[in-house]
C-alpha cells in the first residue's frame, strides 16, 4: 500500500471513531448535535497538552483524555440537553464556536500557533507510523464499534430509542429523559475525544481551525449519508465522504457541488441513509445477510 492510501485510510478511520460517537447522540438518542468537532478538539488538545507539557505518554494520557472529553460533554450537555431540536442544534453550534475560540485565543492552548511537537505513539517499544499507526486506529475503531453494538443491546439504548421516538410516552414509563440524553452525550463525546487524541498524535501538530464548525457539519453529513442509528452507517458514510474527494480530485473545483448534490439526493430519496431502514442497499443485501445468518 502506498503511503498516500495509508494517509487517507488513517484519517478516515479516525473520523469514523468520532462519527460513531456522534451516532450515539444523534442516531440512538435523537439529539441533534452540530458541535461534535468541539469534542474531537477537546480530545486532541488534552492529548497534546498532556504529552507535550505534562510528560505523559499517549497510553497514560488516554484514560484522562477520554474522561476529560466525556466530563466536558456532561458539563456542556447539562444546559443544552434541556432545549429541544432546533434550539439544541443552535446551542451545539454555539458550543463549537466557543470551544474553537478558547483554543485560538487562550495562550495555554498555543493560541493561533496551535500545538506542535506532539510525540508519536509508542507501542511495545516501536514508534507507530504509516501502516502500524493505521492498524492501531483500526483496532480502536473495532473497540468503538463493539461498544456501540453492546450499547444497542442494552436497556440504556432502549431508553434512548424511546426518548428519540416519543419523549412524553418514554417519561411515563419511568425513563428520565435528561438522564439518558446526558448518558448518550457523555458516551458520544468520549468517543470523539478518543478520535481527537489519535488525530493529534497522527498530525503531530494541531491548531484551532482543525476543529471548526465545518468539521462538525462534515461529521454530521457522514452520519446522515451512512445511516443514523445503524451500527455500520458511520463507517460507510465516513468511507464514502473520505474517498470521494480523492477519486474526484480532477474535479476539485466542483467538490462542494458534488457533496451538496449527494446529500440532497440522499435526503430526498434515502432519508434513512445508505444503511438505513428500507434503503436500496439494505434491500439488495437482505437476502445475502439472511443467508449468512442461517
Amino acid at each position: 500500500m502506498s503511503s498516500y492510501v495509508i494517509t487517507i485510510g488513517t484519517i478516515i478511520v479516525i473520523q469514523a471513531i468520532a462519527v460513531c460517537g456522534l451516532n450515539v447522540i444523534v442516531g440512538y438518542a435523537g439529539q441533534i448535535s452540530l458541535g461534535h468537532a468541539a469534542f474531537f478538539g477537546i480530545g486532541a488538545y488534552s492529548a497534546a497538552i498532556l504529552t507535550t507539557k505534562a510528560g505523559f505518554s499517549f497510553w497514560t494520557a488516554l484514560p484522562l483524555v477520554i474522561g476529560m472529553s466525556g466530563f466536558i460533554g456532561l458539563l456542556l450537555g447539562l444546559p443544552s440537553i434541556r432545549v429541544r431540536e432546533d434550539f439544541l442544534a443552535i446551542t451545539t453550534i454555539g458550543i463549537n464556536f466557543i470551544v474553537e475560540a478558547v483554543f485560538r485565543y487562550v495562550q495555554f492552548f498555543g493560541g493561533a500557533l496551535g500545538i506542535g511537537g506532539i510525540p508519536r505513539i509508542v507501542l511495545f517499544g516501536i514508534k507507530l507510523k504509516g501502516i502500524t499507526f493505521f492498524l492501531l486506529c483500526l483496532g480502536f475503531l473495532i473497540v468503538v464499534l463493539f461498544i456501540c453494538w453492546w450499547f444497542t443491546r442494552s436497556w440504556a439504548s432502549l431508553a434512548c430509542y424511546a426518548i428519540r421516538e416519543e419523549e412524553t410516552a418514554a417519561s411515563t414509563m419511568g425513563i428520565s429523559p435528561v438522564r439518558f440524553k446526558l448518558l448518550a452525550f457523555v458516551i458520544g463525546t468520549a468517543m470523539a475525544g478518543l478520535g481527537g487524541s489519535l488525530y493529534a498524535h497522527y498530525m503531530q501538530f494541531i491548531s484551532a481551525g482543525d476543529f471548526s464548525f465545518p468539521v462538525s457539519v462534515a461529521f454530521l453529513s457522514m452520519l446522515v449519508l451512512g445511516g443514523m442509528g445503524t451500527l455500520w452507517g458511520p463507517v460507510v458514510g465516513t468511507l464514502i465522504l473520505g474517498v470521494l474527494p480523492e477519486v474526484f480530485r480532477p474535479l476539485v473545483d466542483y467538490r462542494i457541488f458534488f457533496y451538496t448534490l449527494l446529500l440532497l439526493l440522499m435526503i430526498r430519496f434515502q432519508p434513512g441513509g445508505i444503511l438505513g431502514e428500507g434503503s436500496v442497499v439494505r434491500r439488495i443485501l437482505a437476502p445475502i445477510l439472511k443467508g449468512g445468518r442461517a
Partner: protein
Amino acid sequence: MIQPLLSTKGVSKCFGGLKAVDGVDFDVFPGEILGILGPNGAGKTVLFNLISGIYQPTAGKVYFHNDRIDGLPPHLVARKGIGRTFQIVRPFATLTVLQNLLVARGITRYGHLSKVWGSWGSQSEIKAAMEVLEKVGLTELAHRKAGLLPLGNLRRLEIARALVVGHTLLLLDESFSGLRHEEILHLEALIQKIRGDGRTVILIEHNMRVAMGLCERIVVLDHGQKIAEGPPSIIQQNEQVIEAYLGRKGITYAA
C-alpha cells in the same frame, strides 16, 4: 374505612386565564373501576396529565398511597406504580411492537445506572412481554414496526405497554374511541380481567354505554369542575349532567 389508593384535593390547572381543571377532589379506592366523564374540553385529559406528572398543578395536592405525588416528574410518578395510556396514541414508531413493551418493562432499571447495561433481549423479558401481547391480541404483530399499525392496534399497544409492568393504578384515556364493536367488547372484557388481577383503573370515556357498563363509580367534569359523582344509575338521572351533555332543559326545538 378503606384508605383511598389515589386522591386529589382541590387540584387545579390554569393555562393563562383558562382554568382547565378547577379545584377537583376525588378518591379512587383499591380495586375499583372509576370513570371520568364530561363533554369535550371538560378537563379530563388535563386531569390525567396532572396525576401522571406531565403537568404540575397550579394549586391542590395529589396523594397516591398517602404520599404526595404532585410536583414529581412523570418518570418518578410512573415508578411509584401508575401507568397510563394516551388518547392521541404515542407509539415508539420505529421500534417493533415487542420492543415497545420491553421499553416499559425496563421501569425497574432506569433509576439505577448500574442496571441498564444488561441485554433487553433476555428470554424471561420477551416471555413476559409476549404474554401481555397475547392478552391484547397483538401476538402476530409482535415483530412489526409500531408506526405501521392501524389505530385500533395502536390503542391495544398503548394498553399493553401500561399492563406489562405491575402498575397498581392504570389511567386509560379514551382507549375505546375509534374501535369497532367487537374490539370494544374485547377491551371491556380485558379491563374486567385487569381489575380481577387486583389492579385499579381510572378511565376517561366518551362512550356512555361502555362507561355505564364498566364503571362502579363515575366522576363527571364540566368546564374543569366536578359536577357529579356516584354510581352510573344515579349519574344518568343527574340534572346537571344531562344539562352538560344535552344542553339546558326547557329549550324546545321545532320539529
